[in-house]
Amino acid sequence: MSAIQPNVQPPVSEELELVRRAKRGDDSAFEELVRRYDRNVFRIAQHITQNREDAEDVVQDAFLKAYGNLAQFQEQSKFYTWLVRIAVNEALMRLRRRRPERMVSLDEDVKTEDDSLPREVADWSPNPEQMYNQAELRDILTRTVQGLPPGFRTVFVLRDVEGLSTEETAQALDLSIPAVKSRLLRARLQLRDRLSRYFQKRASGDGNT
């Protein structure tokens, strides 16, 4: 079985060149950074906040913060990792504001040990995506990932959807590498378990879910 390949990201040196130009006051360079990463920031923000308006605000505030604090970016990590860190914090802040009754933190939901053990081991249909139309599939995937605790969801989105490395995810979330790995494993297993309800092989022609 082949390993999952990370999403391709542009070379660092080119990004660093843009950052340095932006630091010298070249706004067109900063605008290029916005164009390069606004879609990623929006996806991350919407995954965390689960709210479109909040995600729009996060995109604006994260870039504005990055712009205002560019001089403090030390160039020891990728600009993108630094930006994601800002965006995640903004998104979590908004999530907390909307759900004050629940403390939202990246450290929560890590105590249960058995929650991720596979319960569902039925094999899936060979082409699970084709069992549903596009809108149905979207709905299934959205509801399933939204069911994860924020701490798991964030790690899964950064690692598996956005393609950050384990080290970059740890940096962006201020977590240790073992913590990232453990959350990622449990997020993946929980999603897999929940998706199995929808994607497992059906007896031919019964049409039931």
Binding site: M1, I4, L137, D160, G163, R188
Partner: protein, 85 residues
């Protein structure tokens, strides 16, 4: 290798981050343990489905508006005085 040991290594395996020896032990386990094979295969599919899903794509019109708003705010921030370093 037991099923629980397999599960602990699953993420490293799917990410291609295992040394040859552990990888081969894991693949021996997969060869005879059908449940772990299914879990491994469907976890890989889960990741691929999400990666290809294009959930929450930013629509072009909204994208244009956000970019303009961001750059306008940046310009305003610059005019209102240099940020402290």
């Amino acid at each position: 290798m037991k099923c629980t040991e397999f599960l602990n290594e699953l993420t490293n395996y799917l990410d291609g981050a295992l040394d040859d020896r552990t990888k081969s032990e894991l693949e021996d386990h997969l060869a005879w343990c059908h449940n772990c094979y299914v879990v491994c295969d469907t976890t890989r599919k889960t990741i691929e489905i999400y990666r290809n899903s294009e959930l929450y794509e930013l629509p072009n019109d909204l994208r244009g508006r956000l970019q303009s708003a961001i750059m306008a705010k940046c310009t305003a921030q610059k005019k209102s005085g240099p940020q402290k370093v």
